[in-house]
Structure formats: C-alpha cells, structure tokens
Symmetry: C2
Subunit: 186 residues, 2 copies
Amino acid sequence: MPEGTDVFEVIHTTRAMRRLKPDPVPDELIRNILLAGQAAASGGNTQRWRFLVLKDPEIKKKVQVYYKKAFDETNEYLTDHYHEAPVWIVACLEGASPTRSAGSSIYPAVQNMLLAARALGLGATLTTRHLTYEKETEAAMGIPPGFHSYAILPIGYPMGRFGPVARGPLADVVYLDGWGKPYPGI
Amino acid sequence: MPEGTDVFEVIHTTRAMRRLKPDPVPDELIRNILLAGQAAASGGNTQRWRFLVLKDPEIKKKVQVYYKKAFDETNEYLTDHYHEAPVWIVACLEGASPTRSAGSSIYPAVQNMLLAARALGLGATLTTRHLTYEKETEAAMGIPPGFHSYAILPIGYPMGRFGPVARGPLADVVYLDGWGKPYPGI
C-alpha cells in the first residue's frame, strides 16, 4: 500500500488514472473497493445498486468497440486500451428513467470506490462514455431490464504516478448566501 | 478532530447525520470540505460546478417550507430542523436537461465533501428532496438560469455519534463476469 491513507491526502491525489497495466489485481483489493462502494449512502437507504465486476476479456472487448466509436481525443490512450484494464467495476442502479437526482444514489458509491482504489495503490477512472451506445453496451454486458449502468471503472496498477489534482481557486466556484457573492476569506 | 482520518475508517463510518446542533461551524472547516469537493473528477474535467454556501437563516427557512411539503416520515427530525443546520452547501451544476450520467460530474464532489465533513467531526447528509419543488426552491436560493442544484448538504456538529454504516452481504450486490453470477470468495 503506497504512502498513507489519510482521507484528505487520498481525496487530493485521486487523479483520473487512464494508463493501466494489464497485470492482474488481487481479489482482496477489489473486495475492499466494493465494500467502500457499498458503504455509501443511497436515496432512502434503498441500496438499489449492483456492482458487476468484469474480468472476462471478451466482454470487455465487445464494450471497448463502442467506447472507441464514441471516441474522444483527450482520452486517446484509455480508448485504445480500455478493455485491457484487468478489472472493470460496472456500477448499476435499479430503476428506469433518469431524473436529475438519480445519480445521487450511485455516484457517491462510485466515488468511494475511486478513493478506495487510490488508497490501495490502484489506478482507476470514472468513465461514462459507453452510454453513447447504451443499448449496445448494456446488452454486451448482460445488464437486464430494470437496471442501468451509470459508470464503468477500469481498474489496474497504474503506469504513471499519483499526484495532486490541479484545480483553480476555490473562490471561483464558491458563493456565500447568494449567487455570485464572495465567501470572505475562502 | 475526532479519531483518525484513515480513508477506509472514514468511508465506513460516514452515516447520514440528520440531527445537527445549530452551533456555528468555523469557516476553516467549511473551506476544507469545499476543497475536497473541488478535488473530485468531473466529465472532461470541465468543472461546471458551483458551491453555494448558505448560512442566511431566512433563505434556509424559505427552502425548508418546501422541504417539509415533500415530507418523508423517515426523516422527521431533519424535516423540522432542516433550516437550523448552521451551514448548507448547495451543489450546483451548469447545464440544462439531466441525462443519466449528468450526476457523474457533481455527486463525486458531493461524496468528497461528505467524507471530508465526517473526517472533520461534522455531521452532514446528502439531501435531494427539495427537487420535488425544484422551481420554488431554486428561486428561493437565487440559482440563475443555466445552473441547477443537485444536492443540499446541511452541515453542523452532530447530536448523535458517528458509527459504522450497516450494509448487507457484499455478495448480494456483486456479480463477476455476468449478471447474477457470484464472485467467488467475496
């Protein structure tokens, strides 16, 4: 386990890790990531989630074909090597039509898993691009009616190094007691 | 700062803290929570978020009226005392219609803030119920066209104690390489 697992250090060094080694990842680490996901809150504590872990190269390859179709140049490396990540966690939620707050019952779990992965020295990224080909990719992964995927997290040992995330001044995005009003001292 | 800030301990003890003291919270703690939010990933790293901090009792009371209208018995205490939390962080995102993955650019930030609050000894909860009266509550908070609120986090010193979150067996919600297929040893 690299460095510390202080939550602030972990939060501020959880970069999108897009270049992953194909080396296998111990199940015990994946288990700890999934436990972290399951610990998140969900609307009314309904826990209508399922976490589909994919290691099968064929299934991952089928989905990567669509991922590449919805190509985004900024993520070129990940696009070509998407399916080579040894483990994917597909975060799924029960329920049909997405409302604005639907994601509030699944993305907190996703974020817990990203932080847990980081704390365990594993690289991961939150990806949603497969949803451009939602029907095709959910069919390839065998997600049944009544459930939908909200994110695919490709997980593996990173090629690059973890490091601080870069963000602008907090004052640019924080207001106090009124839109556009500065928060003194922030 | 209570106990440790080990990320796994923090994740597994971040309960919804619904009973909050009205005592004020130091700005420095709120700042650390906001920094944690800002460190989260967002789609294409676009960071189209704004965090509206509300301390103004009048604005909070206006929103609480609608929160109470959309009453949910399981959260009775929070409903009556919603506006008494000394600080609210309203997580907002630029962009109009919600897609399934819209929340992927704001709820990771929300989860970082919940974990940061926990690590700082502050109680908080992810609430979305105000969206039942979306237009009325967003007007009361002065959120301009082009932005929408995705969550309100009431923050304060908790009356109750932090403790482990309760979850069922991981095997109930995790599959490997096919829907319904058990993950051996999970």
